[in-house]
Structures are given as C-alpha cells and as structure tokens.
Amino acid sequence: MKDLINKLSKAYELSDVVYQRPNFTYATANKENVISLITQLRDLEGFSHFVLLSCVDWIEDNIFQLSYILNNPTQKYDLAIRCMIDRKEATMTSAHHLWEQIATYQRELKEMYGIEFPDSPRLNEDFILEGWDDIPPMRREFDTKKFSEETFFPRERPQSNDPATYMKNKMHPDEWDNTPSSKG
C-alpha cells in the first residue's frame, strides 16, 4: 500500500496521507488531478469497485470535501481520495463515465449540497426531494430543526425545566443567578 501511495504521490501530489488500517488509506489530491487519478487507479491499479462518493461540509474553512472511496477487490484494500473544492463555486468534474453509479451520487450531491457536476446525466432532475425551494438541506448552515418547527407545527407540550434553575427558583427564589455574565 505504501509503495502505491509513494508511486502515486510523485505523479499526483498526494497529501495528508492517513494509514487508517492496514488495508485502508486516505489521501488528499488536488481538484484537477482527482479524475485522472481515479481513472488510473481503476484502469491500472485494479481498483475496479467504486464504493462511495461522499461530501463533507467544512463550513469554517469554506470548503467541501469530496471523498471518493475505491476498492481493489483482488488485493483487498481500499483507497479513499479526498478532494477539496471551494464552497462558493461548488463545481467538480463529473466522473460518471468511469462508473455508471457515480451519476446517482452526483445527482444526490447536487440536490443535497448544491454541487454542480457539469455533463452528469439527469443531474437537475429531482432525485430525493420534491419541490424543494430552500437552500440545499445537507449544507451545514441549513437548520433542520428550525425548518421543521416552522413548517410542520409540532404538537404543543409543557415547557421543560432545567433541574438546577427550577430548584433554585423553588427553594431560593430571591437569590442570585450564577451565570458568569451577571457579576454579583
């Protein structure tokens, strides 16, 4: 595994290599290199089984991390290629020509994160959601609880009480608050 990574590192500038398990490695590649890298992995290195295409929203750093997990079924090891793309202009080269299933992943990512994959088939069709007109729901800034409460009006319930506050109010009603903001 290490040999392979070393070999690929030269050509594709892999960084942040993590040897998670003896048969599982993570590495980060540049956005431009990813497609040619996974093409090489598929065609030359025997990574014929595509496992997963996923996206992680690092909202603090303003990036989306795309993870391509590939599996080599004969050698029985996995390689996950990470790729960072800009959150503002979330566009990535499509890889649907390599594995048929990637088109589905890309449809989902488009719908859930708003990432564009130009030329990917049926990209703009509704996949899971229907008639969604808010920001893509899997983005971190989308507050699902707030959305749910505003949209689906839950049944009313009694207000919950924090034991500490409740006890204090009940047993020592006129005493001070202990939150750091109020000094004395």
Binding site: N161, K168, N178, P180
Partner: protein, 596 residues
C-alpha cells in the same frame, strides 16, 4: 422441466391436516426484557433530568408534579413521556442515575386522542405500573458514565503522619478531565450549594480545558476557590446524582484544580477587574474570615471601599486558625486573600474591635458588617472538665497554627465527632508522631459511626494515620488521680434526640468504658464572642432563642447600619459563610443605595 418439478410442490398439501401455528389469542406478553411502556418509581426518582439529556427525540420533558416536594437532592421534577416522540430505545433507563425509571413489557396502547399519549410515569397511574418484567439496566457494571472516583494522588498515611504538609496533591490534568467527564450536568448540586455555584458549568470548563472560563464561573459566586476547593463541606457531593449508584463526583477537588491551574497574577486579567469603578461609600468589616472576605470582594466589585478589621495578624479567620495546614496550606489562603486585597480592600490587622471601636466604625463608615465567627470553645461540663489538662479544641488548634508550643502528651482523648474534632485528632496525632514516633489519640463522640457529623474521608484518613475513632459513647467523667488526668469514663449512648427532636441524649449506664489519657480535648461545638456589642446596642438588637442575632434575608440586623454574617448566623461552615457574605454584600449595596 421434469415430472418431479410438477409433483414435488404438492408436498405442501401435507400441511392441510396439521394444526395451524397461529396464536389462538394473539395478545401475547412481551419478552421479559422487552422495552415496552415506561414506569417510574416516584419515590426513588430525584428528577435529575439525565433521561431528558440523553433522549435524542426530546420525548422526555421534566415537569413539576403535585405531591413531590422540591428539596435538597430532589428537584421535584419528574419526567413526562411524550409517546409522540419516544422511540423506545431505553437509553433513559440505562442512564437513569437512580434506576428508578424502567420499562415494563406492556406494548399495546391505542387511543383516539393523541394527547393521552403524554403521561408522567408513576404519577399518572397506568395498568403496567405493577408489571415486574421489562427492560431494566442490563447489568450492575453497565454504565454510561464513570462510577468510580478518579483517585487523587496523596501522601500515604506513613508519609503524611508526622508533618503538616498538605497531603492531598490535587488532580493532574488527565485526572481532572477524567473526573469531570463523569458529570452528568444535572445541576441538582447547584441549588444545594449554599453559594449556588455553577458547578456543572465549571466542570464543563474543565472538560473543555478552559481554566479561565472556569475561574470566571467560580468567582461569580465564590471568591475563595482555593480555600473552598480544599476544605468545603461539599454539600453538593452529598446530593450528586452520580453518587446515587456509584461514587459522587469530587466536585471540591475539581474546584481546587481550576484554582490551582491559574497563578494569582493572571486573576485580574481573566476576571477583568483591572479598572473597577470606586465610589465614595465606605464599609467596615469586622473579622477577616470567609464571610467578610466574600462580602468585601463583592462590595468592591460594586464599587465600594471596604476596610477589614482583624484581631489576629493574618486574614482567614477560622480557616487559618482553626484548620490545620495539612488540609489547607497558608499560602493558598494568602492567594485568595491577596487577590481580594488587590481589588482595593484594606486590611487592618491586630486590631481588636471592641464596643467603643464599633461605635467609632459606625460613625466613620456608611455601614458595618460583622462576622466574627465562633471562636469560643464549649465545655462538656462533666466532672473533672475544669482540669488544666482539659483543653478546648479551638484554642489548641489556634495555638498549633500560630506555631505556639503546646503540650503533647503520650495519650490523648478527644471528645467530639465533628470535623473540628477530627482536625484536632489528626493534628495531635501528627504532633505525637513527631515527638514519640507513635500515635495514641482516641476520639469518641456521642453520635454513632453512621451519624457522625464529620466527613467520612476525615474519619477514614484519621484512622489511616493511626488514631482510634470510637464513636457512640457519652462522656461521664474525667478521672483525676493525684491532680493528673488518668482517663475518661464513658457510657454507651442510646439516642441523642428525643421525640421532639430536641437534644436530649440517653445513655445505657451499664455499658461503660474507660479511655486512658493524659490529656482530654473537648470539641463539642463553638460559641460566639459578642462582647464588642455594648449593652446599649444589645438592647436595640433582637436575638433568637439560641442566642443568635436575628437578621433579615440580606443579613441586616435590626439596626439598619449593622450587617451580620458568617458562622455567627448560620453555624460553622465556610461555604455558608461565603454565601451569606455575598448576600450581605447585595444587602449592603441595596441599603447604601436606598440611603441616598
């Protein structure tokens, strides 16, 4: 396709003559472990709300219920289950600190009005309340949070036995975080703590390794964290919900851990007290004990000028002169005191405030706060108690801490079962060990072992150090032969309080014992010295039947300018002192503002 393929399927018809496997009555019982509807033992439940915290569906709401009182250690809240949310995972049962919440194996409930599906188990009577079977906590050693205290490094009994060096070393970072991790953040402790410290909050700060935040939280309610972190009577730990099944959290040590991490120089910066506003109001505080220090601290923050008058040469009061330094080293007292001093509080040492001085203070200052503590020992009054080798523990302790030479005989008997008795026992043991190399101290108390007022660990540690603790005996007389004390006669104590809960011990005069001793130390309580109140003042003040000054909720005595606090009002307890110092500070502030 062969003939076999056509004929073999007909074998299925063999079933037609067999009895069907359908349940005749399909309404079965759930399995013994089945996670069905909830039931709650209302008596055992303390309303800690851990179930609410772990419930991912917000299906549990803590609500007040009729018939359950809010009291120390019981929030008076009980979980309300919303079966419009519940997913029957049973985590609430697994984490329940008291194991009062369980699930029955009942599983069928159909309603037409969904509002019925909200109920308080145990309060709203349900058919399954009496069912025995159902999901319970899987095993005694199955936990979602640590059950055992992280033990603190301390000196062994042999090492510590002959010195007054602080023997509890304090937590390391890893230990503190491990211990802090056990907290379930229920907050039951907060209301129980006299000062209402934000205990879960500062424990959280430890977990986040944010000591500055921790210190800020501490100082909101307690300006003496180093002191409290060592010698607080930790009422919080008694009610800690983690302690319901395992060992309660070492809240005191964690507090000390925070204070220990930060050097005193950084206090100003962290607490943002560099430029506090100073007004023109002046307050005199008598006695430099915890109550005064606390009051002075908060008054300073409010912008008042405080002057503390202390009879002895250092601040700290009973903390310095009553508690041996192996428990509370002096430099730690100084650390807290120095910070208060740095806020502009003036300390006047070696100044005894007597009746005239008090009047003078009243004239020169806007308000006077008196917290002179309980510095007089009480005597048992048994025959022989007036012997010169019968001492008061308070007096002895003060002498020990002041470094005065005291008599260290070979055999000592201590009468009393409180923390002070333990202090003197252990102090004497140390002195004996240093002098003779062996310990022959015996402490006896009226209360039996289980109701001894002293902290458990004090008793345990005292025994580790070689002292004998033999509780449950009432002192009868001190045998004096040739003007020298021979020992103490005791008889078995049967009960301490009568049916009206008044102090009235009963003894079994048949069951007697004799403790040999060269010296007897009485440690059965303390009294206050209010000689500085002139008769004229006394006549204007009111006292309660136990001889204590009556005060209102902000510790204002019947004379408006006089505020009273500390042990004098609420008995010997440092955290109470701090708390009522804080309250008095608020009261004084209000009083001064209203006077304008």
């Amino acid at each position: 396709m062969s003939l076999k393929d056509i004929l073999l399927p007909f074998k299925a018809w063999a079933n037609v003559v067999k009895e069907p496997v359908s349940l005749k009555d399909p309404m079965r019982e759930g399995a013994p472990r089945y996670r069905g509807f909830h039931k709650n033992d209302i008596e055992a439940c303390i309303g800690c709300g851990t179930c609410e915290a772990i419930c991912e569906n917000e299906a549990i709401v803590m609500v007040p219920v009729d018939g359950v009182e809010t009291k120390s250690g019981d929030s008076g809240l009980r979980p309300l289950l919303d079966y419009g949310r519940c997913c029957w995972c049973g985590l609430c049962v697994d984490i329940c600190t008291t194991q009062s919440l369980n699930m029955s194996n009942e599983h069928t409930w159909v309603v037409t009005d969904p509002e019925e599906l909200k109920f308080i188990p145990g309060i709203d009577k349900k058919a399954w309340d009496t069912k025995e079977e159902g999901w319970k906590k899987p095993a005694p050693n199955y936990h979602f949070y640590g059950q055992e205290r992280v033990s603190m490094d301390e000196l062994h009994a042999e090492e510590r036995g002959d010195s007054f060096i602080e023997f509890v070393k304090g937590y390391s970072k890893e230990q503190a975080q491990l211990e802090a991790d056990r907290c379930v953040e229920c907050g039951i402790c907060t209301a129980t703590c006299p000062a209402h410290m934000g205990i879960p909050e500062y424990i959280k700060a430890i977990r986040n390794d944010d000591m500055e935040e921790g210190l800020r939280i501490l100082y909101v309610t307690n300006p003496l964290p180093e002191i409290c972190g060592r010698i607080c009577t930790h009422k919080c730990e008694d009610v800690c919900s983690v302690g319901q099944q395992g060992e309660s959290l070492s809240i005191r040590w964690l507090k000390r851990y925070i204070a220990d991490q930060i050097p005193s120089e950084k206090y100003h910066e962290i607490l943002d007290t560099k430029n506090i506003y100073k007004g023109d109001k002046k307050i005199a505080l008598v006695g430099a004990g915890p109550a005064s220090l606390s009051a002075a601290y908060y008054l300073s923050l409010m912008g008042h000028n405080c002057t503390i008058y202390e009879k002895l040469e250092h601040a700290g009061g009973m903390m310095r002169y009553g508690i041996p330094s192996y428990r509370l080293p002096y430099d730690q007292i100084d650390k807290d005191v120095k910070y208060i001093e740095a806020l502009g509080v003036q300390f006047v040492y070696n100044t005894n405030v007597d009746a005239t001085k008090l009047i003078e203070l009243n004239e020169n200052f806007d308000s006077v706060y008196v917290a002179t503590g309980l510095h007089l020992g009480r005597s048992t009054g048994i025959p022989g108690a007036d012997h010169e080798h019968v001492f008061q523990s308070i007096e002895l302790l003060r002498k020990i801490t002041q470094g005065e030479e005291i008599m260290v005989p070979e055999k000592v008997v201590v009468i009393g079962g409180g923390n002070v008795a333990m202090d003197i026992t252990r102090s004497m043991a140390r002195l004996q060990k240093a002098k003779y190399g062996k310990v022959q101290v015996l402490a006896t108390s009226l209360e039996s072992e289980d109701i001894m007022p002293a902290d458990r660990e004090e008793v345990v540690e005292a025994r580790e150090e070689g002292s004998i603790i033999d509780p449950g005996w009432g002192p009868k007389s001190i045998e004096i032969v040739d003007g020298k004390i021979k020992g103490l006669h005791v008889h078995k104590c049967l009960s301490i309080f009568d049916e009206n809960k008044r102090f009235s011990p009963k003894f079994d005069t048949e069951d007697i014992k004799f403790f040999e001793a060269d010296m007897v130390i009485e440690s059965i309580g303390q009294g206050m010295d209010i000689s500085y109140l002139s008769e004229e003042l006394k006549s204007q003040l009111t006292f309660d039947p136990r001889g204590r000054l009556t005060v209102n909720e902000s510790f204002q005595a019947s004379l408006p300018w006089l505020f009273v606090g500390g042990d004098m009002v609420q008995g010997p307890d440092v955290i109470h002192g701090i708390a009522n110092g804080h309250k008095a500070a608020i009261g004084i502030d209000n009083y001064l503002n209203s006077k304008k």
